[in-house]
């Protein structure tokens, strides 16, 4: 009898395991729409498009009633606007949660620990080659307000040293659907001034400060 109960329970967990494994979706958005690369957006008094968006999510931790229920085994996850499968983080496990906490970017220990594979492979274009360090958040495109050549802007936000630390933490009450509101960044940054940030610097730190507010729960 006991054995049957045990078997039954095992069966049930197996079922939930395969069907309801926890997943989080990080959807890059522009205003109410899902982001489309190279599409022209009319935003306030700007005409802009986004040609490249990538960002790291790391140290993802799940909470229920403010206690930790799970920590993602994946060290860092790369979100890449050209690949919608990268918007999803799958946990291979079922548990209940009401809040998540994660970092935007790659932590300093990883930054000084040499070469990694997979999402952290420098071939993904999220590593500075001339000065060691991951780019935590990358957004490129054109904006009519930007006076650079061909109106191009480059926001490569990275830096792990204490003086230019750009890693930012986010805590969100959510059931698993998160949007990344890229439009918010154009509201917060004066693109006519800050159109080229490509190294660890004060400019990068200032933009990093704004990144947590892009992440919204989509209940």
């Amino acid at each position: 009898m006991k054995q049957y109960v045990l078997f039954g329970m095992l069966f049930m967990t197996f079922q939930t395991h395969s069907q309801n494994a926890v997943k989080i979706t990080f959807m890059p958005k522009f205003e109410s729409e899902n982001l489309t690369l190279n599409k022209v957006y009319y935003f306030k008094n700007d005409t802009l498009n986004i040609s490249n968006f990538k960002c790291y999510i790391s140290n993802l931790t799940y909470y229920k009633n403010d206690s930790i229920v799970h920590s993602s085994i994946k060290k860092a996850h790369l979100i890449d606007a050209t690949d919608s499968s990268s918007f999803i983080i799958l946990e291979n496990e079922f548990f209940k949660f009401d809040k998540i906490r994660f970092n935007i970017g790659v932590d300093s220990l990883t930054n000084v620990s040499g070469i990694f594979e997979g999402d952290l492979d420098p071939a993904n274009g999220m590593y500075w080659t001339w000065q060691s360090g991951y780019i935590n958040f990358k957004l490129e495109g054109t904006s009519s307000l930007c006076h650079a050549r061909k109106n191009k802007f480059y926001w490569h936000i990275g830096g792990y040293s204490p003086s230019f630390n750009t890693l930012r933490q986010v805590a969100l009450k959510t059931n698993g659907k998160v949007s990344i509101q890229l439009d918010k960044l154009f509201e917060e940054i004066d693109i006519s001034e800050e159109y080229q940030v490509m190294s660890p610097s004060d400019g990068a730190v200032q933009i990093a400060d704004k990144l947590p507010s892009l992440f919204k729960s989509n209940q």
Binding site: S113, G114, I115, P122, A123, W130, Q131, S132, G133, S163
Partner: protein, 329 residues
């Protein structure tokens, strides 16, 4: 701790007892002959550059202790000239940071810089992976080295690191004296004392560098305006500071300094005795000027020459090795 034990037993990497524990983590993966050989072949292969003309060895020649001597500023692809003098490569396992300004924080990541630099090798790692994948011979070498023929960034970088980690210079006359196998001449002994009094705080034993950043009073070259460590940290206190280079193998590594401004050791010594330029970040050691008679200069140089490591510079195991031609297709 564990890595220390591993290294001691390792026959590819056998530093003397008076070398401290390496900074490089040898555990993942440990050195082995297949990876080292693959790294060596890659180091000498221009396939790493965009137009297949430049290899690592074009700027880091084994006969110059892996520095570069025929031009003060290293030539790169399309003859554009890099801004800095190629440093010698040895005892890299003990370095905390790489490049004159410490821009690179780990040996594994270093090779990405020259491969991607437009005026050095002008390629990028994806192009390199693609080219290597087209070579049957390389696929085989990667398979032997990593039990997996998928060529990836991390395998390329690990192999290059493994080869470079075997570049250990520890067989100079100084080392032999240290081990009680030889003795200094009177002149060298005198030079050693002068070195200890004037140079050892930065060029410290046994590497003849503490690998820290210092300003040794070189006047700024206005055509380059290179601020050294400041470029990375943007900290005013780091202006004009450069990573202290080793004094081992100086006979092979001229020209000297980050921009290769001095051709001879005589010029270097004269800089320290009469060329130091004051600036706010000048290292404190130079608050008191260094005074050396002409005899003392000769003695100091004769000591510096005991730091040449011919066994290292002419070691066949470090020299050019080509990927097997017949397998290349």
């Amino acid at each position: 701790m564990f890595s220390f034990v591993l290294i001691k037993d390792n026959h590819f990497f056998n530093p003397p007892d008076y070398f401290p524990k390496p900074i490089y983590n040898f555990e993942q993966p440990p050195l082995d002959s297949n990876k080292i050989e693959l790294g060596r072949i890659l180091f000498y292969d221009p396939i790493l550059s965009k137009d297949n003309t430049i290899s690592c060895a074009s700027c880091h020649s084994p006969f110059n202790a892996f520095a570069h001597t025929d031009h003060d500023l290293s030539h790169g692809i399309f003859d554009s000239i890099g801004n800095r003098n190629a440093p010698a490569l040895f005892n890299l396992a003990w370095q905390k940071t790489f490049m004159w300004d410490g821009a690179i924080n780990h040996l594994d990541m270093q090779a990405l810089a020259p491969i991607s630099h437009p005026s050095e090798m002008g390629s990028n790692i994806n192009e390199v992976i693609k080219k290597l994948n087209e070579s049957k011979a390389y696929k085989e070498l990667f398979l032997n080295a990593f039990q997996d023929s998928t060529i990836s960034t991390s395998k390329i970088l690990k192999a290059l690191s493994q080869f470079q980690l075997t570049l250990v210079s520890s067989n100079t006359k100084y080392d032999k004296v240290k081990m009680g196998k030889e003795t200094f001449t009177e002149q060298e002994k005198n030079g050693y004392q002068l070195y200890k009094n004037n140079c050892a705080s930065c060029h410290s034993e046994p590497f003849f560098s503490n690998y820290n950043f210092e300003n040794n009073g070189l006047p700024i070259d206005p055509t380059l305006n290179d601020m050294g460590r400041y470029v990375i940290t943007e900290n005013e206190n780091d202006k004009r500071k450069f990573k202290v280079p080793s004094l081992r193998n100086l006979s092979f590594t001229y020209p000297y300094m980050h921009d290769g401004r001095f051709m001879t050791l005589q010029e270097v010594i004269n800089h320290y005795t009469s060329g130091i330029e004051y600036s706010e970040t000048l290292s404190l050691q130079f608050n008191k000027s260094i005074e050396l008679s002409s005899n003392e200069k000769v003695d100091l140089i004769s000591f510096l020459l005991t730091l040449n490591d011919k066994d290292f510079v002419f070691n066949k195991k470090h020299q050019f090795k080509k990927i097997a031609d017949q397998a290349k297709e």
